[in-house]
């Protein structure tokens, strides 16, 4: 099993969710996050006082999947969340040792 952690532009969340659901993914976790990358920040101006906003809002999804799906999931997220502009975000993949469904006690891929 792998955990895919993807950080991308907030307005793409619904499209990404729909695309992953259509791949058969049955659940994911979403957080609103802030951060910076190559896009850097933005500037806000209030009556001439400029403030650099160094952290921009993004969404982060975490989804645990079977190893076999990894390529398709990465490709889908990249295609759907991408705008080909700076600030599109990143995807990280991590190994997952175990998964347990709390209600039934199922483990491993059955718990996903």
């Amino acid at each position: 099993m792998k955990m895919v952690m993807a950080i991308f532009k907030p307005f793409k969340l619904d499209e990404v969710r729909d695309a992953l659901t259509s791949l058969g993914i049955q659940g994911l976790t979403v957080s609103e996050v802030k951060g910076f990358g190559r896009q850097k920040g933005q500037t806000e101006i209030y009556r001439g006082a400029e403030y650099a906003v160094s952290f921009l809002p993004k969404v982060k999804i975490e989804v645990v999947i079977d190893d076999a799906m990894i390529e398709r999931v990465l490709e889908t997220i990249r295609k759907v969340a991408g705008t080909e502009k700076i600030g599109d975000g990143k995807i990280f993949v991590m190994p997952v040792e175990q998964a347990v469904r709390i209600r039934t006690g199922e483990t491993g891929a059955d718990a996903l």
Partner: protein, 436 residues
């Protein structure tokens, strides 16, 4: 009151034609209250009070950081209460009763003698109680405006002492000089609704406060962006609506002067909001929300002294000038001089009031203001100089006395919160509360 008197006259008149002239003479001696004027002035009192709470409280409250919101709205509210009592005790008497050309008399201490049928000679068609309340709302908003200059760093106790002393030592005399029978009014200084008395006065006091108290901790490096501009938009909108009571109410009558004051107020405000917005759009790339509402307030300020004296074209020009110049003063001038006038009490009210006062001397026309009240475009260039003198006298008295009051309070109890309290926020430290 008037109706009762008339019917009594009618009843007696029917009984005896002979006594009629005697009774009519008695009626003439009594001031004639006008129900229309009284109704409008009652309304104006409510409108102008609404400018401070919640108008100004929200306008300022939205512009500070989240940790100082309650402390900021608290200032407006507490000032409203404090000045109300001081006005009742002595302020009104000092400002608006006959005395010398420098200060009013003591005849209305604790409002003594303000009987139910009393009338002030300055407003003969409305009850004195209404006139006193109307002027009270002006006395309230003026110090409340100053609070914008020292927002986010003054001790609440020091603020209360400062506002009380300032109201009696600066506001009351200057109101008397211009409106209460003092020497500035005698000189012919035109100030319809308070460009000099309210706005230059509050703005200059604010500048002195900002200079004496110093900058907020982290000014120029920390992010001091407004925490909720929607509050500021609501506040500015309430100020705008309330300002009809301020300007049209300053006609102290429900008639043509009030009507024209209302019209030029609306026009100047919109013009200033647009001119600030366009100036900012051209120079900074974006038309900001804070910009357009600040422009509106600048326009309201600038048309205040002019509102009963200029025609709609004059209002339009005053508005455009105020928007652009106040944009410059609140952004470039402040930056160049380096003082921390947190919410631009000086940049908007001081500068806007000055522009309005001077341009009143330019655009006043006799056709609007009546008997001899004319400015440069009506063939009386000297009025501009008269206006300038009015401004300079106000600025000088205000700056000197404000400075002395601040220094005395600083020596007695200190003006600023500790730097730890400032960083943590005034809400939790001064009031033991937080906003969300």
């Amino acid at each position: 009151m008037q109706r009762t008197f008339k019917s009594a006259v009618a009843g007696l008149g029917a009984a005896s034609v002979l006594f009629m002239p005697v009774l009519a003479l008695a009626a003439d001696d009594k001031p004639k209250l006008d129900t229309g004027d009284t109704a409008w002035m009652l309304t104006s009192v409510a409108l102008v009070l609404m400018m401070t709470i919640p108008g100004l409280a929200l306008f300022y409250g939205g512009m500070v950081r989240k940790k100082n919101v309650l402390a900021t709205v608290m200032q407006s509210f507490a000032i409203t209460c404090l000045i109300t009592i001081l006005w009742m005790v002595i302020g009104y008497s000092l400002a608006f009763t006959p005395g010398s050309i420098v200060i009013g008399g003591m005849s209305r201490i604790f409002l003594a003698g303000m009987a139910i049928d009393a009338v002030n000679d300055l407003a003969k068609t409305i009850p004195e109680s209404v006139f006193m309340c109307f002027q009270m709302t002006f006395a309230i908003i003026t110090p409340a405006l100053i609070a914008g200059a020292f927002a986010e760093r003054m001790k609440f106790s020091a603020m209360m002492w400062f506002m009380g002393l300032w109201s009696l030592l600066v506001y009351a005399p200057i109101a008397h000089w211009v409106w209460g029978g003092g020497f500035l009014g005698d000189w012919g200084v035109l100030d319809f609704a308070g460009g000099t008395v309210v706005h230059i006065n509050a703005g200059v006091a604010g500048l002195v406060c900002a200079l004496v108290m110093g900058k907020r901790k982290g000014f120029g490096t920390d992010n001091m962006a407004p925490h909720n501009l929607v509050l500021s938009v609501i506040g500015a909108s309430l100020l705008w609506v309330g300002w009809f009571g301020f300007n049209a109410g300053s006609a102290v009558s429900a008639g043509s002067s009030a009507g024209m004051a209302m019209a030029v107020t609306q026009i100047a405000t919109a013009a200033a909001a647009l001119s600030w917005m366009f100036a900012e759009w051209m120079l900074r790339g974006k038309p900001s929300v804070l910009g357009i509402v600040s422009g509106a307030v600048a326009g309201l300020v600038a048309i205040t002294p002019a509102s009963g004296f200029v025609n709609p074209t004059g209002g339009l020009v005053i508005g455009i000038a105020a928007g652009v110049i106040c944009f410059w003063s609140a952004t470039s001038l402040k930056k160049a001089l380096g003082y921390d006038d947190s919410l631009d009490a000086f940049g908007v009210h001081g500068v806007g009031g000055f522009i309005g006062a001077i341009l009143t001397g330019v655009f006043a026309v006799e056709a609007i203001g009546g008997d001899g009240k004319k400015g440069l475009i009506d063939g009386n260039a000297g009025q501009v100089l008269t206006q300038l003198w009015g401004c300079l006298v106000t600025m000088a008295w205000c700056a000197v006395v404000t400075f002395i009051i601040l220094k005395v309070i600083d020596a007695m109890i200190g003006l600023r919160v500790t730097s730890e309290e400032e960083v943590e926020g005034l809400d939790i430290n001064l009031h033991g509360e937080t906003v969300h």
